[in-house]
């Protein structure tokens, strides 16, 4: 592979060492935090008296309680993946699902990722000593048994971190499967409850056009509506459409709608086309996180780490690269599973050619924090298929086949046959 240059390989080895070190320190600290415990917060001038307390569960602290005790404000961005915290003497940005904390152009890495659990954010307890000083201007020391957090007087703390080019893209890799809160481990298998269906294109984006004037945007909306009705009526799911009529919706907005609705499945419905009218059949896609963007690859080459030369790694671009990587990668196995269930169902029920389950760098699937799939329900560029796709009864058949696929996935989840990814 062209990408596998020695520098990258060296970087990977470094990454593994880093991951091991993190895992090691994690295991060491895990013992003392395996069950719920209280940390007393001791503010300056209060002697031995506590000024508040924080509950630690499996090494994670509820962010809302930290914000309350230390008087922090927060805001979450539209996509729901960047959380900004503001304190009296500084601010920082957290990336949901990542162990990264960013402040004034510097990164620090927590022992595990910030997680979103049922609408609440929990954060590894080392956030208290690593990032709080920068927000409050105070120093924080956790005593030996981890039961008391001693807060220093004003102007004693600051944020220390690494520059993005020192960090490279590693941070996005060391995040998974650390600090799994116990309530998740104990969780019973659950089926789907919220599904977002995304009828492709809309408004000025016409999508593919058939030779007799069939428009992809119209066709896929009709199929999505039929599928929505079935899922609601027969599986009692909450189903949200990214558009309900013929208007334009941006690609990022579509996944944002799914993220903000807490969807457990994102299905983008499209109709296919090529330059050769004979081609027919079905294709189903899930995201490839292999970028062909050379700049993203360059972030992995952090040989400048020791020397600190060549600044200027663009912080926003790095954030984008990390988020791009993170959002779908944790769900890639599930996305593949859903894609193949859908593909099998369509090929079987509608007897079209199986053009395969494929990975591609699809803009509409990036940023989805749930299994996400794009299905091409037939070739509008094939006159025969166009004719059929136009028929209400055929659209109903497609909707039924997609419904069966989602139902299969739902049942597999219920039976615990598919391991659910954790955001």
């Amino acid at each position: 592979m062209k990408d596998e240059r020695p520098r990258v390989r060296r970087a990977r080895i470094f990454l593994k060492v880093l991951a091991f070190a993190t895992a090691g320190s994690l295991l060491l600290s895990f013992g003392s935090f395996a069950t719920a415990s209280e940390i007393r917060v001791q503010m300056p001038g209060t002697g031995d008296g506590a000024s508040g307390s924080l509950t630690v569960r499996s090494g994670m602290v509820d962010l809302a309680s930290i914000m309350k005790v230390f008087n922090l404000r927060s805001s979450l961005d539209l996509m729901g993946d960047r959380l900004d915290l503001v304190g009296d003497s500084g601010s920082c940005r957290l990336l949901v699902g990542s162990p990264l904390v960013l402040s004034r152009g510097l990164f620090t890495v927590l022992s595990g990722p910030v997680q979103s659990l049922g609408g609440k954010f929990v954060i590894p307890h080392d956030f208290l000593t690593k990032a709080l000083p920068g927000l409050t201007g105070r120093s924080f020391d956790l005593d030996d048994d981890g039961s008391t957090l001693v807060v220093g007087p004003g102007n004693t703390g600051g944020f220390s971190g690494q520059r993005p080019e020192e960090l490279g893209r590693f941070a996005s890799f060391i995040r998974r499967d650390q600090y799994v809160p116990e309530e998740i481990l104990r969780e019973e298998p659950k089926g789907l409850s919220v599904v977002v269906l995304d009828p492709g294109h809309g408004g000025r984006s016409l999508g593919a056009q058939g030779s007799t004037g069939t428009l992809e945007k119209t066709l896929v909306l009709s199929v999505a509506e039929k599928l929505k009705t079935r899922l609601e009526e027969e599986l009692d799911l909450k189903v949200v459409l990214t558009r309900t009529a013929d208007y334009f919706v941006g690609l990022k907005e579509r996944t944002a709608i799914a993220n903000n609705n807490g969807a457990e499945l994102f299905l983008s419905i499209h109709a296919n086309a090529t330059f050769r009218k004979e081609i027919e059949g079905f294709e189903t896609y899930y995201l490839s996180f292999k970028s062909s963007d050379k700049k993203a690859v360059k972030y992995a080459e952090i040989e400048n780490q020791a020397l600190g030369v060549k600044g200027g790694a663009d912080e926003e671009a790095l954030l984008e690269a990390i988020l791009w990587d993170m959002a779908q990668t944790s769900f890639i196995n599930e996305s593949r599973e859903v894609a193949s269930i859908i593909q099998r169902s369509l090929v079987h029920d509608l007897r079209g050619s199986d053009r395969g389950v494929r990975q591609a760098p699809l803009a509409v699937l990036m940023g989805a924090r749930m299994p996400a799939v794009l299905v091409e329900i037939g070739f509008i560029s094939n006159p025969e298929q166009e004719l059929r796709l136009n028929r209400e009864s055929h659209q109903e058949e497609i909707a039924r086949s997609l419904y069966r696929a989602i139902e299969t996935y739902h049942r597999k989840l219920l039976r615990g046959e598919i391991q659910r990814s954790r955001p």
Partner: protein
Amino acid sequence: MRKKLLIAGLLLLMSVAVYAAYRYGAAVRPPGIPVPEEGALIPRALPQTREVDLYFADVTGRRLSIERREVTGENREDLYGRIVEELIRGPEDPGRLRTLPVTTLVRTVYFQDGTVWVDLDSAVRDEHPGGTWTEVLAVYSVVNTLAENFSDVEQVQILIEGDENDTLAGHVDISRPLGSRVQLLAGDWE
């Protein structure tokens, strides 16, 4: 006296050059493209003929497929532009499919620091049939053709009517310069 004349002449020449660079260089450059360093505006006037591998689609529309062709251009940018025009002209072998609409026009081509910007007119978007994989093949027929034939081309960005675009047909991210994907010859992305 002769020295003064020479200096005056040189100054005049320089101001004409600077004006020309400003007037014509800036006027046709699409937004968002860095201004090349001084000297880069002067085209290398040597005609270049190259035998190149053109990346079209195979007859199934699943993978890229190579056709060899000789292409001549007056300089680097011109050659790249003519190569893209060959892609637009389409394959000679009926066992291959075109990847770009036949009505597409190449507006301009720029090269700087390993990146080629290929500015196409709106036909590439408006006349494209659509379809996810058809779009993948359209984008990477251009990217692969330029990046695989020229070792100093690292990445390629497609502009439409001079502007950066999120996608060409609504599925594939083209908002940034892209590197080649030779895996597409086997019909796979990865």
